[in-house]
Each structure stands twice: as C-alpha cells, then as structure tokens.
C-alpha cells in the first residue's frame, strides 16, 4: 500500500463508532439503527469505559495513559 499511516492504526473503538454509527450511506433499509440507538451505544461505551477505569483504580494501576508527546 502506498498510503502512509499517520499514526499506528491500532484503532480505538471510539474512532470506529465515530464513523460507522451515524455516517456512511444512510438509507431506509428494512431494519435500521435510529438516532436513539446511537445515543444508547454511546451511553454504553461510557459505562464500559468508566467500569474499566474503576477496575484499574481498584487494582491500583494507573489508568490514564501517559500524555502523548506531540510531534
């Protein structure tokens, strides 16, 4: 591939959700995901992340990744 990956494409779930949930071609298929469903998924992600954070804290491990050095 001649494309350069700007950053490693170890894609976070968020990066994918940010694109596939409410972008892309939107048509009225027989079954579609509504905007309310999209909100539901983000709420789920929030819960998932905060529970991971809580778990890490309980284990005493620093959850926050080191601040990325820009450039």
């Amino acid at each position: 591939m001649d494309d350069i990956f700007l950053e490693s494409k170890d894609v976070t779930l968020l990066e994918i959700l940010d694109r596939v949930l409410d972008k892309g071609v939107i048509i009225s298929g027989d079954i579609v995901i509504s905007l309310a469903d999209v909100d539901l998924i983000y709420a789920g992600l929030r819960v998932l992340l905060s529970s991971v954070e809580t778990m890490e804290r309980l284990r005493g491990a620093p959850f926050a990744s080191p601040m990325q050095e820009p450039g």
């Binding site: 591939m1 494309d3 968020l14 892309g24 071609v25 298929g29 079954i31 998924i41 990325q68 820009p70």
Partner: protein
Amino acid sequence: MKQKESLIYLYCVTKRKPDRVVIDALTGSISAPGEVREGMPRPFVDEVQEKIYPIYSQGLYAIVTMVSPIEFGEEGLKNNLANMKWVEKNVRRHEMVVENIMENMTVLPFKFGTIFKTEDGVKKMLAERGADFKKTIAFLEGKGEWGVKIYCDFKKFAASAIKEDKETKDLDEEISASGKGKAYLLKKKQDELIKSVVTQKVSGYTRDSFERLKRTSLEAKINKTLPKEVTEKDEDMVLNAAFLIDKNRVKAFDDVLERLKTEYSDKGLVFEGSGPWPPYNFCLPKIYDRRRMHERVT
C-alpha cells in the same frame, strides 16, 4: 424461500466485483472459531453461516452477509445494541470488512446496521439509488478519508496564555498590591479574563489548523466533538474533523499535520491523525447534494 430464514446485512457498495480470495478470506476470518469472546450473552452464536458475498444489480455490487434474525431482527438488535461487547465485535467486523474491500477498490461504506429482509430488497435499493451511487463512487476514485482530532490541555494552555497576555499580568500586580476584599474580586475578574482569552485562543488555533489542513484536501468536514467520558483522555477534544484527500496529496496533508504538531505542542494542543478510512464522511459529495435537491423539486 430460503431467505425467509435469515436477514441480509449490507457493508458497502462497489462498482467492481471484489476478488473472491478477499471475500473468502474475510468470511474465514469472521467465522473462525475463537472469534467469539467469553462472556458473550446469548443469543449470540449465529445460526446462519456468515458468508460474505456480492449481490449484483444495476452495474453495482452490494457486499453483504447473511445474519441471524434472532441477532439482527428488530427486537434482537435492540437488545444487542445495549450490550457493548456485542456492539464492539460487530462494529469492528463492519469496519474490517469494508477496509479489506477498500484495499483493492473504491467503496461506498454504509452505516452500521443497515439490514434488509431479502436480497430483492437490496436490489430494489440499488435500482432506486444506483445512479447516485455510481456518480459518488466515480467521484471518490483515488481519494481517501483522513481524520484529525485535536485535544487541548486547558491547564497548560492557560499557563502559556497568561504569560503572553498583558492584561492578566497587570492584574497580577494589582492583586498583590490590594487588600483582601479587593484582591478577591480582582482574582475573580482575572479568572474570567483568562477563561475568555483561552477560549478565544483555542478556537483561533483550532480554526487555523483546520483551514491549513483543509487546503490540502478536496473536501473537509467538522463533526461534533466527543466528551471526555468516551475519549478516555485527560485533554478535551476541541476539533473532530474529516478530510477527503487525493492519494497524491497524502504526503502534503501529513506534512501540514506534522508542522501543526510542532507549532502547537508547547501551547497544549495534541493532534491525532488517522487514516485512510473508508469515506464515511464523504458519501454525499456536496456537488451532488445540491443537484439532488434540485431534482426533487422539479
């Protein structure tokens, strides 16, 4: 009718027929044992063979897979969307399939969870929208989507903004020279001032970054910024942008991004670039948007 049993999940539409090897490899990687993670609640195991295949109609290929009505039917889907593990597995699969097809040809990616009851439904949709899809694919040929998110460390930013701002510095002197009551009010005034200086500067730098990146692109789009609760970052997201870049301009785009990183790093801005993505943000090119609206009116 066999199809009554299962539903048709649509990933993307292409103009060329995807290589069978690619399709078979995808099908293999998707239904490979071990893919299903532990702790997946039922109903999860697919009863339908998850074979990926193209449906041809109107000179276009719809890349689809059969899915279980238990999992993807209206009721099942609603339940599964509340299950983050299910969502993660399936959105990653959606992305993986589209990205693999994209390696060899231009794709028109569909929104996650576009499901048809029958193959005829897919064909009908291609008949209705096919002309637009073909134009869009032709427009997207040789181009890729790149994402840039900018995050801001407001504390670091405020610290550097104060140093540069004369008015806040003058207030510092006044505060230390004032009595307790007046100092309190002045401090409050200073905080407000810092806040407005920071907001103004951050939005100025962000706009500058966006405009400079935009110049290397064919189209650019600003999306909603996402809250900290979902970004898992210490910094706040201040820009969430997507750019449609000609393949020959990727280097230019990357150069601008690198320059921005260097320029703004000491100010507390963090840049994150990613790509190439399927063109999720550019499935409705502006040039056709306007014409389509016009067509509808006439």
